[in-house]
Symmetry: C2
Subunit: 481 residues, 2 copies
Amino acid sequence: MTPEEFRAAGHELVDWIADYRTQIPRLPVQARVGPGEVAGKLPGRAPEEAEPFRRVLADLEDIVVPGVTQIQHPRYFGWFPSNATLSSALGDLATSGLGALGITWQSAPALTEVEEVMVEWLRELTALPESWKGVIQDTASSACLVALLAAREHATDYSEARGGLQGESAPLTVYTTEHAHSSIAKAVALAGYGRDNLRFAGVDPVTYAMRPEALAAMLEADVAAGRRPAAVVVNVGTTGTTAVDPLAEIVPLARRYGMWVHVDAAMAGSALLLPEMRWLVDGVEGADSLSWNPHKWLGTVLDCSLLYVADPGHLIRVMSTNPSYLRSAVDGEVTQYKDWGIPLGRRFRALKLWFHLRLDGVEAIRARLRRDLDNARWLAAQVSSAPGWRVLAPVNLQTVVLRHEPPGAASGTGAVLDADALNAHTLSWVDSVNASGAALVTPSVLDGIWSVRVSIGAEPTGREDVEALWSLLREAAERAP
Amino acid sequence: MTPEEFRAAGHELVDWIADYRTQIPRLPVQARVGPGEVAGKLPGRAPEEAEPFRRVLADLEDIVVPGVTQIQHPRYFGWFPSNATLSSALGDLATSGLGALGITWQSAPALTEVEEVMVEWLRELTALPESWKGVIQDTASSACLVALLAAREHATDYSEARGGLQGESAPLTVYTTEHAHSSIAKAVALAGYGRDNLRFAGVDPVTYAMRPEALAAMLEADVAAGRRPAAVVVNVGTTGTTAVDPLAEIVPLARRYGMWVHVDAAMAGSALLLPEMRWLVDGVEGADSLSWNPHKWLGTVLDCSLLYVADPGHLIRVMSTNPSYLRSAVDGEVTQYKDWGIPLGRRFRALKLWFHLRLDGVEAIRARLRRDLDNARWLAAQVSSAPGWRVLAPVNLQTVVLRHEPPGAASGTGAVLDADALNAHTLSWVDSVNASGAALVTPSVLDGIWSVRVSIGAEPTGREDVEALWSLLREAAERAP
């Protein structure tokens, strides 16, 4: 495609996107296609000849749009916010247009240095320790894996440079809670610790936050049994209930055992832009690493996750490679981000952060985050005061976990039959809400029983959308068997 | 940013990109900024108030463009082609515009199914085994790590579900050659094998390809010494010289020892679109996994790497997680790509492949790849027949490794002083070429002596650009001390 063909098609696509975003409120939130339906509409082979742009655009409209759940819909309250702000989309388009290649500082100095400045802007905005350095990763899953690899090498004095974990005698263990994101268990498995060595410390039954006493007891018993505590993953805003583990109380315990402290604030990190929310990470100056995702609530289009570390020298030693064809005269003076993560080749992701923060401005972003927190508190208040409804966990952030418990169903009694009836009731009314297309919420298991997560924070979601949701939930639940 | 603001700014940015791409030939290829120069031009803090789009665009032009090496320049012959075709850039813009979220099939059925169809289109185009299934990863570094994790779990009967590598007694070993990409050693280290357990089989001194006899001898000795061969990484087109390990001869050896065979065809994979180049992967039907990067020579904008596996069930067992909030009624019927790699959240990367293949057409892509192969052969012929010049490795693909060896310098004698003088000469003339801005080539160490890699394959590079490069190289080398 020539630049002039791009110019013509690009204008069409920009208009299409502007129109699409305007029309999203009229689309069903949840995709209504069945398995194989999208694939069945595509030809089995790539075209030999170039196709006209209008045909591709028509397929985008007719096949792709109905085939995705509308995450940018004002009534999307599903999994978690994954805002794709149009300001950041422009930054990402600039990235593609530039076509820069991030393999070393030399290959694209601006790619590295804009990234350094962006992670510093966001460090300052979130009041993380001044000495910390950051890097953009694709997702918190990768960032957590990198952190647990760093922890592994910290605990084994760089076993990777010798015989690897295979040379280790006493098993290294990793600690978190059962409410940790699934990527933690995955990272433990992939990093070679083994799932048997992932230990869940007990949580408070009301807040679902890690109990430091439970962690302390577990550590003591594990060390007595010959295990070697290597890392603790502290959850700041769990996926299920936005529970907040008490970092300030966990850090001293971790220090006593020489453990790495990784803070997983994937969703909650955005809230750190608000001074009143910084209690979430009280004690963070004692942690070793923290990751959070601007591609969630903040709204920098996927994929954009931040990993901060207190000691970049250690991370670099764990991740570095230095083949001759990548050496340059400035190696000692510059940051080589290839040594801060798994991929060598890196996209110029910092541009989307740069465009996002500059074109939207921090003040407006903070106002939006506060709007969402207010909306969550408002919804929680409605639910709490409505007969037959319960809020099941503290509303620390923008997520409300709730359940409709009609007369005759279990009300926390734990009776098995009642729990089954309650599960059937919950899944029935949630399905009817989601199938209606009018809103999307996510069913989730809490304490063994299905509950409903309402995750507020889509960019266009206003109070009127949350009010409409609350009406929908009541209608659906009160009508359901 | 509202849709209407996006419409206005988007049109400006599209025009800017079209103009920029048109003007690239007039820019110096290599960025001329020094360490800290770009960062020094950016403010220390994010702006509180939104800035006008024109100011951001002006900074893109004035700060970022001079701060990146122009990978899309017709006279870019550096590291490797990393083409960012404008057709694929449109696809990626559509991705940002849609703002879909790939966490499960359910969250965006089209994201999963278009990806399934695209990896199948490319499987068919590259004639990989019909039963293989693929997935898009960010880079070959990640794909190789995933492959070596799969290999580790294959060798240990899923040790990750128990005590991990820590529970293993005899060390697992991984085989490749010293010409393998640095990401292989990194993956071995990160997967916990330990660098001591990465074994380099000897290569042919002329082709730099693995010698199967050397691998066989090493395997025999290692097993006798109590090691457990787990995987072999077969290099199809090494970064240094595009050497091609003899896959068909390696597979039976690997089978004998129950090893995983991973094929790293990161750069060379694009060539498999050409039937006449399929000899590169003769024997591939006996491999377990293969990765290659459409974001290199093919030109699907970063990041877009393909990983194919013969046994998806095994990969899924190694990588899977299944938290309640991601469960759905269709789990058994659909592909859940979260279980095919490290990240949970996935960008809709398949759209850029879809746009790229449809808007450019496969016929034109094949013609471009053939053009580059022809250009490389032409350059190699010029170099070979010019006095004082040598081609140092077989030109299997689009890369020519060469050296100017003036009278008085070492001519393969290996005398230390002569090698030093030759190194100084080479680095001097290469630096002068690169500093001129007229072209970019990459110095690289081969057999302990600096050589020069000319990697042909930027999208706009025609024969006239290769001719101009050859003039530049001769002028620079013949003028250099």
